[in-house]
Every structure is written in structure tokens, then in C-alpha cells.
Symmetry: C2
């Protein structure tokens, strides 16, 4: 049995705690909100972030970061934009020998950094791995079958982590492509917004499938520019997560796109929601990053323009559709 | 203006006729059924195979195969299992200088051949290209935006065909991977049945996304064994068509899988339907082909076992989910 600390008690951190408990590990979850710590320890539930599930009593929470990370393995499951602050707080507390698994998906808005770059800046001595893939938290919490990519530059560590985290219904596949495994999760929400717009505009399933395909090509180009491999994006962290997010009605980003496509205004859509759609921030960060790296990402640029620069939807879609006919194989070059 | 003959007046051939008419070409559609020829020429509709659309009067049909293929370009849009007989009939009629575009998707059941192999056997002197991608016929007929792969081993011919076929809303992307561009369309229906089973069993969206991802990996392995390239499967003919078929309720194969997953019997499902789900045949053909080529295709094998060898669904799914944890990058090796 390994002692596993999970930093972040939102829906994803909580679902991971349940999955790891099911895998037979000892789990301690760090949660910022005192009332959630209490709810988990006393009533075995997290009504704020993952309502409707009763936990095994062995899943414990703490508000003490040092206690949570006194573990064999630590998972980082805070929101992407909080990860720099969280890891800064961890620096004086964490044993450099403890391997970290980054479970947050996104690009840091202020710097355009991948999550591994953010963590390495604050915790340069800890080994870093990436957990990513098609994972609706509520399904993982219920124990429905889920497969993920676990990327580690050290293959032996990757296998150890996969064994620790894996169970019959939560299955990690090991990769050694740390940058590549982060790109899918960071960009998929932006493509999902674009797909939602197409659905809201009633442009059909063919157009959505083409957008998903061209969106994956944009991910591949960004991954290559960041030192990753194209084949990683064909896996669970790329295609898998993209397919999930861009076709499911459960996705907040997809449904935000549908509302935009129907003609609703962004301000009104966001005001009516409790939770933020991560793609709104990611679109800006990814468009800026693509510009800096000279990576061609027209779908990301189009979503950024619609969301943040009042570009008219029909004109932007028309431009996307009328891009010159090119060899399809340029998608990976 | 090019004269384009289309062989096959089903939903797809008819939708292609409308798209090419919109592209400004002169289109003549060969249709087997005399009443459909009459409906197209006199009432400008195909109520049997593509109800609900009124055609431009310039779209004409004929029952005379020789007349249809006296053209600059010929598209073959018959069902996959009829293509050998159709091309045998074409052999004495067709000028060997006329380029052919294969629009049928599938694997020949009796031989395990790709469509290009079937056509080359009967028409060895005509240049062959492949048109494939995410294309619900009804959306193409309505002029909704659609993008396709057009694969030709001769890049100059590929560009000429793309220009002839393409329009603002029907956009071909040129590839030179003729075998690779056929594998997606042949296997996607089998994966869509598997995805439907997962949905019918209420196993969740995570599991379906994982199946789509692993299904694409099976396609890549088969494409490599047939001399194609992995990157082609990341494009419209692979990922694009797979995503469309495996997530849309419009797909007959997906809905057949859902019914199986809910516990209905194959015989009863098929008896209640007018149209056949191509994946039922493809599963058997693809499983046999994979066996002959020693290509690992566990999802295809599982669907074949459920459909044709009375394998119990729950045991098969359990086996699929409990495959050993492996490096994800083995998907492309």
C-alpha cells in the first residue's frame, strides 16, 4: 500500500481520491475549504464539488498541506490557474524525493506555461509525471471504466505510478512524452467551444467532425513545437479527451459554444453559470502561445477572436471553412 | 466544366451528385432502379434513397451504364459488397484514361480486399483515387459544410480531382496515401457498434472515448500492415469519420450497438430494420483480415465475437477492459 496525498478537493481531486481508494491505496485529500474537510471526514461526502456520492470511510481529508504531502506519491489536482500559488506553498513542505503527478489541465494565462513548467519552477527537484485523458469526474467517482495516459520521463517511475494508481476500472497507459501529454488537455476545451458553436449554428455533424479533426491537427503542431510527439496526441490524452469534451453534452465548454452559436452573448452566458468554462481562459492563453511559437492554430485563433475580440461568428466560421485546400498531411508537419 | 459520371444512386451517390452540381460540374448519375431514374429526371428527387430533397434540374440520371461513364471523371458509389460486380460490368465500357474515384467504404467480405484492390482487379489501367471522410449523406445533400480526404498516388491528379469536386461547402483535402485512406471508412462502423454497446450498457462517456481512441489505434495498425501511414488515420478519413460515426445518433451502426448493449438480440434488431448496418458484415471481414495479417485488433475481434459467435457481452467487455497495462505508444508500433 502506498500513501497518496492529493492536493485539491474539487470534483477531479475528489474523484481521484475515490479511484485510488478503490485501487487499495491510503488516500489523504488536501482541501482548502474547512467545511468540505469536515463533510468528507464526518459525513463521507463532498456536497460542494462532487454531490451525490458517499465515500468509503477510509478516504480522509485535511486542511493541513504539510500533512497531505507527507506521502509516497503526491497528486496535484488544483485548477490550472492556481497551480503556481499551490506549488509555491508546497516548496518548503515537500520532500524532493516524492514523485508528483500533475492532474491539472490548462495553460497558465499570465505566462503561457504548461503545467509541468509551472511546477518545475517551484519544485525543481521532484520528479514530474502527467495524468490526463477522457475523464468526467462523476464517472470516475462512480467507478465507471476509465482509461488515462500517465506520462513520465522515467519509464520505471511511470510503471510504479501506473501500478499504484490503476485498478480494474481506472486504467493508466504509460507514456514517456511529458510535454505531448499536456497539450490535449490544454487545448480540447477551446476546440469544444468551436464544436459547440457549429452545433448551435446547426451546421451539422459533418462540420463538427471536421473541426475535431482539424483541432487535433492544431494540437499536434503545438505538441511538436513544445518537444512532444504526434503519436501521443493520437492517444487518450489527445484524441480521447478531445472526443469526450467536444461531443458530450456534459461538457461546460461545449454547451457554452452551443449557446454562443445560438446567438447568446458571452457576458449573459457566463453570468448565468456558477462554474467557469476553462476554455474561455485557455483560448486567450493558447492563441497567445501559438503566436509566440509561430504555430498555425486557426481554430484556436477563431475561438479567441469570437470570445475576446467581438469577432462576428458567421464571418469567422466562413473564414475557417474557406481556408485554402491543402494537402492533408501538412497537419503533422 | 468537367463531365462527371457517378455510378450508384443510393443516398451517398445522390448526395455526391448534388454536391458536384453545386461545384459547377455536369453530373450524370447511373441508377439501377428504373423508377429512381424517372423520379430524378422528371420530378428532380430520389424519394427511395434520399427523401426530402429537390434537385437542381441539371442533375440527370440514366439506367445506361455506358452513358454514365462516358465522362471526364467517374465516381464509384455502389455499396462495398457490390463493387466487384459493378466494376466487372464497367470493364468493357470504360475508357482506361478516365480516372476513377472510389466512394464506397468497406472490406470485401469474400476476399478481405480493400475497395481499391477490388477495382484494380477489374479495371487495372484506370487511375484510382479514394474519397472518404465524415460525410452523412443528408448533410452533404443539404449543402452543410463537409470536408473529405481525397487520396491519389498521383499528386497532380489529386489536385485536379480536388478542384473538380470541391466547392465552398464540400472541401477535399488531398493525400497520397491510397491504402491508408480506406482503412478508416472500413473499420469505423465496427468501432461504432462497440461504442453503442458501451452506451447501451450505461458504461459512460469516459469508456466510449477510450474505445474510440483504442479503435483508432487498431485502424492505424491495420493501415500500416496494408502499406498506409499512421498520420492519414489522424485525418478526416480516420479520426474524422470515426468520431462522426461513433458519437452520432444518426449512425445505424451506433444505434445497433446501443440496442445490443441494452440486451436486445441481433436477429430481432436486424428484422426490425429496413437498412443493414454495414458494421455487421465489416466486423467479420475485418476480424478475418486482421487474423491473416497478424494485426492486433481486439475491439474488432470483440464485436465479431458478440455479433457472430454468440459471445456474452459482459464477459467480452470485461476482457477488453482488463487487457494488460501497456505503454500507450505501442498503439502505433
Amino acid at each position: 500500500m502506498e500513501r497518496i496525498g492529493i492536493v485539491g478537493g474539487g470534483a477531479w481531486g475528489t474523484a481521484l481520491a475515490l479511484a485510488l481508494n478503490r485501487a487499495g491505496q491510503r488516500v489523504l485529500l488536501w482541501v482548502r475549504e474547512a467545511e468540505v474537510v469536515e463533510a468528507i471526514n464526518d459525513r463521507h461526502e463532498n456536497p460542494l464539488f462532487l454531490p451525490g456520492f458517499t465515500f468509503d470511510a477510509a478516504v480522509k481529508a485535511t486542511g493541513d498541506l504539510a500533512e497531505a504531502v507527507a506521502a509516497d506519491i503526491v497528486l496535484l489536482a488544483t485548477p490550472a490557474q492556481h497551480l503556481r500559488a499551490t506549488t509555491a506553498a508546497l516548496a518548503p513542505l515537500l520532500d524532493p524525493a516524492v514523485p508528483l503527478v500533475i492532474c491539472a489541465k490548462g495553460i497558465e494565462e499570465t505566462t503561457g506555461s504548461l503545467m509541468s513548467e509551472v511546477v518545475a519552477a517551484n519544485l525543481p527537484r521532484n520528479a514530474l509525471s502527467i495524468l490526463s485523458g477522457p475523464t468526467f469526474a462523476a464517472e470516475v467517482a462512480r467507478g465507471l471504466p476509465t482509461a488515462v495516459t500517465l506520462a513520465s520521463s522515467d519509464p520505471e517511475l511511470g510503471r510504479r505510478l501506473a501500478t499504484a494508481i490503476g485498478s480494474r476500472t481506472f486504467r493508466p497507459y504509460v507514456s514517456d512524452d511529458v510535454p505531448g501529454a499536456q497539450v490535449g488537455g490544454a487545448i480540447k476545451n477551446v476546440v469544444a467551444i468551436a464544436c459547440g458553436i457549429v452545433v448551435g449554428r446547426k451546421l451539422g455533424d459533418n462540420a463538427r467532425a471536421a473541426l475535431i479533426t482539424r483541432g487535433l491537427a492544431e494540437m499536434v503542431r503545438l505538441a511538436l513545437a513544445k518537444g512532444g510527439r504526434a503519436e501521443t496526441l493520437m492517444g487518450l490524452s489527445g484524441l480521447g479527451d478531445l472526443t469526450l469534451t467536444a461531443t458530450s453534452l456534459q461538457s461546460r465548454n461545449h454547451s457554452l459554444g452551443v449557446a454562443l452559436g445560438r446567438g447568446e452573448q458571452l457576458g449573459a452566458i457566463l453570468a448565468a453559470r456558477r462554474s467557469v468554462a476553462e476554455g474561455v481562459s485557455s483560448a486567450r492563453a493558447a492563441a497567445a502561445l501559438a503566436g509566440r511559437l509561430s504555430v498555425d492554430m486557426p481554430i484556436v485563433a477563431a475561438v479567441d477572436a469570437i470570445l475576446h475580440r467581438s469577432a462576428p461568428i458567421d464571418a469567422v466560421i466562413e473564414e475557417l471553412l474557406s481556408r485554402p485546400l491543402r494537402a492533408e498531411t501538412t497537419v503533422v508537419s
